[in-house]
């Protein structure tokens, strides 16, 4: 289902130079951060900021050079943000350039792990940072994003195919299986598969969530119990390619600035972890907007002084709701967006909507059936899986296919849910519960 929203990014790239950056350990599920720096330390792009207590090899490095200004902690001293002020001249750690085709699997891994690029690779099940000690059965890259107002990777990557190709060569070293690229049939991205028979391109049509990597995995090479699949974002191919070509961790990327509260939606060239305030134009600085790092379905809400998430390629600004609506359930609702035709907005099918953050109702018992299946194109029964999670029934969760899903796959279910449940949070809880029980 495609939700038509106002505020699509125009295909122009604005350069944004931010001065403040942060890495947020909470972006990495299951990672317990152990700091390697203190406030006041000088770092280069690629210098280690912290590593994972459970797996000391996995390090997280600074996207820019500069000074560690603040280590922000929350309740129980949990590290929330490691903030860096950028220096005038960018300095990079040198990890050495090399042709990935001539390296062994361990050498490729070692370079990626040391540079801090490794965490761009995540694994299913659980959507956690991949473990470099394991070998996945295959690697998936969805090269288009079908979420509302999502960036167009065909536009972003059109001049970067060289780096992508190097990145693919590196990834090919990491698995004995295939690398699956998911594309739209009309995609302008033309990857060269001639050098490597293990790269396979699949074409997907249809509305959201066809671009979700989970859906693509489910249809191409579904995950069974005990199996591991890795996945990453196509822009990270560029980052990996640059590492091997130049020996640097260059965290530059292009994101889409979108949403009905943005005056001039466009693409921005920024560095990973930029402060949101410096990305948003001055005339859009308002208190009445929800700023989302990511898209409206799965993104995280950040305040104006917050930072872009590690895995996010989009900022969306939509109006906050927080209003009562007199007899709203009984009005015709020409302006209300719904997948059902219970509001008269079905009279205007092509219209783009300006949706806000109101829930449009309070939480209720699960009443409707068959709603989720319409927006959940996997061979899984979402209702039954959610109930198994709510009941903490691990056997049933496994049997119903929890290893194949991630919370983002349930985002549309949460959107359409008449009972207004927080389904993504429920699914995350189930995944975390199983992971804890297994470790």
């Amino acid at each position: 289902m495609d939700i038509k929203l106002m505020g699509e990014a125009s295909q122009t790239i604005t350069e944004k130079t931010s001065n403040f950056f942060a890495l947020k350990p909470a972006d990495f599920h299951g990672v317990i951060p152990k700091l390697s720096v203190q406030e006041g330390d000088q770092v280069k792009a690629g210098s280690v900021l912290f590593h994972d207590k459970n797996n000391e090899r996995i390090v997280f490095t600074s996207p820019v050079s500069g000074e560690v200004t603040q280590i922000k902690r929350g309740a129980r001293r949990v590290i929330q943000e490691i903030c860096i002020r950028r220096s005038r001249e960018m300095e990079y750690e040198n990890f050495g350039s090399a042709d990935p085709n001539t390296l062994s699997r361990d050498e490729v891994k070692d370079k990626m792990v040391r540079s801090g690029i490794w965490p761009v690779i995540r694994q299913r099940p659980f959507s956690i940072v991949a473990n470099p000690l394991q070998t996945p059965k295959s690697i998936f890259i969805s090269c288009f994003d079908s979420a509302p107002l999502a960036p167009d990777y065909g536009f972003i990557l059109k001049d970067r195919l060289g780096e992508c190709q190097t990145g693919l060569a590196a990834l090919a070293k990491l698995t004995d299986g295939k690398i699956y690229l998911g594309l739209r049939p009309d995609s302008k991205l033309a990857f060269d598969q001639s050098g490597n028979s293990r790269i396979e391109v699949n074409y997907f049509t249809g509305p959201h969530p066809s671009g979700n990597v989970g859906v693509q995995i489910c249809h191409v090479d579904p995950i069974n119990k005990g199996e591991i699949v890795w996945y990453l974002n196509p822009q990270d191919l560029v980052t990996i390619g640059q590492l091997f070509q130049t020996g640097r961790y260059d965290a530059t990327r292009i994101i889409a600035l979108t949403g009905s509260m943005v005056t001039h939606p466009c693409y921005c060239r920024i560095v990973r972890g930029s402060s949101v305030q410096e990305i948003i134009a001055d005339d859009d600085q308002t208190d009445n907007a929800r700023i989302i790092s990511g898209n409206v379905l799965t993104g995280k809400s950040v305040d104006r002084h917050g930072f872009l998430g590690f895995y996010d390629h989009q900022i969306t600004m939509i109006p906050e709701g927080k209003y009562h609506e007199f007899l709203g359930w009984g009005l015709p609702g020409f302006h209300k967006y719904s997948t059902s035709r219970t509001f008269f907005s079905w009279l205007t099918p092509g219209k783009k909507f300006r949706l806000d953050t109101n829930m449009h109702g309070a939480e209720r018992a699960m009443v409707m059936a068959g709603q989720f299946e319409r927006v959940f194109p996997m061979d899984i029964y979402p209702n039954h899986l959610i109930k198994a999670i709510l009941a903490d029934d691990i056997d049933q969760m496994e049997a119903l296919g929890i290893y194949e899903v991630d919370e983002e796959d349930f985002a549309l279910c949460e959107f359409v849910d008449t009972s207004k449940m927080e389904i993504q949070a429920i699914v995350r809880k189930g995944l975390d519960y199983i992971r804890q029980e297994m470790s």
């Binding site: 719904s338 009443v367 059936a369 119903l400």
Partner: protein, 388 residues
């Protein structure tokens, strides 16, 4: 509206925890959310939400019930005056019918909602909207001459035993409205069956049996023609007689996406098929005389198929399960109707029966999915060992 909102905001603290009227918080919440869609916003996860909520869903079903309700009110008057040998204007028929139906409607809502509010308060829940629909369904499946106290007793039974003991809306196994009807049917058989109640205050000499009742005793010549059955100029429960009005409601339900065609259409198919089988079999007059399509117009078949079988809580929930569930309802309804002389109205029993079996159907559909997954991973394990 602003002043109303201000008033609500002013008195709200008294209904919240620690307030003077804490014990009425569910009641206050029900009225507040009835007047105003809450201002609650999303937190993390999905930042935007579909505009639909349970109130809108239920309101849509109520709208879809209006055609049979209006026709039913008119028909109550029409049948009454017909039995007296009089023929009055549409307005007069409607006016008479309103006097009969409105009290039943009020009794059903007051009893049901009263219990819902009390139970919600005891549990500390918000009041669920489920009864908005049940409250109008119950009068529509009652005979026009039913005593009001029976409506109250059967509604109370349905809400308490059918719904609240299972945990309220969304948790019930049996359709509450049908349970009310079933309770009436089995608790007061002498008052509710036969030919006494289907026409309000009929003349004594006039036969007041429903077409199904006539069929049961073999008076096939007294069954009206198919057009009368389809349009609904026949005695029967208040809302069930007009297949046309019910089909209008069905269109509303299907178009808005609130009702499931995956249940509704198989019910009609199942019923038609069973009717055809009986026609071909032709062991007795009942099987021979009534054509298969007429079965779909008779009694509560259409009403049950459109409004009762599709209740998402008590129906099967999986896609394939719905087809099976719907088909069996139609099939069994006609089977019971024709073969069991004690229950001329097979639809009620067929739906209640399948309500009980819906979880079982779902269980097997889901088990098939689980088996498919196990098989796949079994294959994967074999392949992995071969590779090693």
């Amino acid at each position: 509206m602003k002043s109303l909102r201000r008033f609500l905001d002013k008195v709200k603290p008294q209904f919240q925890k620690g307030g003077r009227f804490e014990k009425l918080s569910s009641t206050f919440d029900a009225f507040e959310t009835f007047l105003f869609v809450p201002d609650k916003v999303t937190t993390n996860g999905c930042h935007i939400r579909d505009a639909i909520d349970l109130k809108r869903t239920m309101a849509t079903v109520v709208i879809a019930l209006i055609p049979p309700l209006l026709f039913g009110i008119w028909n109550v008057g029409y049948q009454h005056f017909q039995s007296l040998g009089e023929s009055l204007s549409i307005g007069a028929n409607f006016w008479y019918g309103l006097g009969k139906v409105l009290p039943i409607l009020i009794v059903s809502y007051v009893t049901g909602l009263g219990i819902e509010f009390i139970v919600a308060q005891i549990r500390g829940h918000e009041v669920n909207e489920g009864f908005l629909v049940s409250g109008i369904l119950i009068p529509l499946i009652m005979p026009p001459d039913v005593p009001l106290w029976m409506v109250a007793v059967s509604t109370a039974f349905a809400v308490i035993i059918g719904k609240e003991v299972f945990g309220g809306t969304g948790m019930n196994i049996l359709n509450p409205a049908l349970l009310a009807r079933a309770f009436l049917f089995f608790a007061y058989p002498s008052e509710i069956s036969g030919d006494k109640v289907w026409i309000a205050e009929k003349a004594d000499a006039y036969s007041g049996a429903t077409p199904l009742g006539e069929a049961l005793v073999g008076n096939f010549e007294k069954i009206p023609d198919a057009a009368d059955l389809f349009f609904g100029f026949i005695p029967g429960s208040i809302g069930e007689t007009s297949t046309l009005a019910i089909l209008i409601g069905a269109l509303i339900l299907l178009f808005t996406g609130v009702g499931s065609w995956r249940i509704m259409i198989p019910v009609f198919l199942g019923g038609y098929l069973m009717g055809l089988i009986f026609n071909l079999w032709g062991a007795n007059d009942y099987m021979r005389v009534i054509p298969a399509y007429e079965h779909l117009f008779l009694g509560g078949f259409a009403f049950g198929a459109v409004y009762m079988a599709t209740d998402p809580v008590t129906a099967a929930q999986t896609t394939n399960g719905k087809y099976i569930y719907g088909f069996l309802i139609g099939f069994l309804a006609i089977l019971v109707r024709v073969l069991n002389p004690a229950y001329p109205e097979g639809m009620m029993l067929a739906i209640l029966f399948m309500n009980v079996f819906a979880p079982l159907i779902d269980h097997y559909v889901v088990a098939a999915n689980i088996r498919r997954r196990l098989k796949r991973s079994g294959r994967a394990v074999v392949q992995n060992t071969l590779n090693v």
